[in-house]
Amino acid sequence: MTLDFLFVVGLAGIITLGLKSSFIEGQTYFTLPSWLVTALEFVPPAVLCSLIVPNIFKGDPGLVQEFGQVAVDPKPIAAILAAVAFFATKRTIPTIVTGMMSLYLVYWLQI
């Protein structure tokens, strides 16, 4: 644990507490404009999808680091199959299990 790490995680904790407490603490001082309330609704899908992309298209999973490169990157295919599993089941665990199994399978089929 370095000082830099503590600083970043500490600040992330303070920001999180600030956002969670914003109205519970400060409701007597301010109200949110309605356009901002509308925009906030779209923040989760926008941020989450932007976060997913680099994870799927950049870097090698541990599997590839350990056993070597293959022609077709297994991550995007595994992500698509996981999304299919989500639409079929609407549940977290089957989605993650399908994604991981697909990752292994698509890699294994190419070696």
């Binding site: 644990m1 790490f5 600083f7 970043v8 995680v9 500490g10 600040l11 992330a12 904790g13 920001i15 999180t16 956002l19 969670k20 407490s21 914003s22 109205f23 519970i24 409701q27 007597t28 949110l32 309330v37 509308t38 906030l40 609704e41 779209f42 923040v43 989760p44 899908p45 926008a46 941020v47 989450l48 999808c49 932007s50 976060l51 997913i52 992309v53 680099p54 994870n55 799927i56 298209f57 950049k58 541990g62 599997l63 590839v64 680091q65 350990e66 991550k75 595994a78 992500a79 996981a82 999304a83 989500f86 977290t92 665990i93 989605t95 993650i96 994604g99 991981m100 990752l103 292994y104």
Partner: protein, 215 residues
């Protein structure tokens, strides 16, 4: 609260496990859980630290992911307005995706006094907090013994994928998600993980514009 608990377990274990798979210690991993008590923000923080993203990108991302809490906070606040400062501070820290919908609906359908409202909030939050911290710790310890070739770090995008797909309630949300992902993809090679921030901002803008255009 009970129906929510089974869903917490895998997410908590992943949140504890993945930082360790990046090379952080179990204490490092647990620290984020203690300080933030917000799974998606924890995962994003460790992932971006691991990618050497700048501190501004990390903090902007944490802010963006946690912006939904402002809405929760605004909705819960009137019910806890008369509580003392320490109670309100702890209520803020314990605010979660699970306690918010429960209190939001039950506070309106019950004629409770302040003490009952605080007790209801505290009971649910405490249960969730203890389970979350326990799962994070179990995940962090498990992470120290599972070899890297299992690629368990890939659970992060899969978890985010599940969370993202759950938010796609309307066409405007789908437009937001697709445009955010596309811009993030185009900006993959930008420095300081700027593609991530541009993707998030443009996703929100496209979602709002689409909603206005179709209203």
């Amino acid at each position: 609260m009970l129906p929510f608990l089974p869903g917490i377990v895998p997410f908590g274990v992943v949140a504890g496990f993945t930082p360790v798979s990046f090379g952080f210690t179990w204490i490092d991993s647990w620290l984020g859980s203690l300080l933030m008590f917000a799974g998606a923000a924890q995962l994003a923080t460790y992932q971006l630290i691991n990618e050497d993203a700048s501190i501004w990108i990390i903090l902007l991302t944490v802010t963006a992911i946690n912006l939904r809490y402002v809405l929760y906070s605004a909705s819960i606040a009137p019910h806890l307005a008369d509580a003392n400062r320490l109670t309100r501070l702890l209520a803020g820290y314990g605010l979660s995706d699970q306690i918010y919908p429960i209190c939001h609906s039950d506070y309106r359908t019950h004629e409770w006094g302040l003490d009952e409202r605080v007790a209801y909030y505290t009971g649910g939050t405490l249960l969730l907090w203890v389970l979350w911290q326990a799962c994070t710790l179990i995940g962090a310890f498990a992470g120290q013994i599972i070899p890297v070739f299992w690629s368990l770090e890939f659970i992060i995008p899969l978890t985010f994928l599940t969370l993202a797909l759950q938010t796609l309630k309307t066409m405007a949300h789908r437009v937001t998600a697709i445009s955010g992902a596309l811009v993030s993809f185009v900006g993959l090679d930008l420095p300081y993980s700027l593609g991530l921030i541009l993707g998030a901002i443009s996703g929100v803008c496209f979602g709002v514009l689409y909603q206005r255009a179709t209203r």
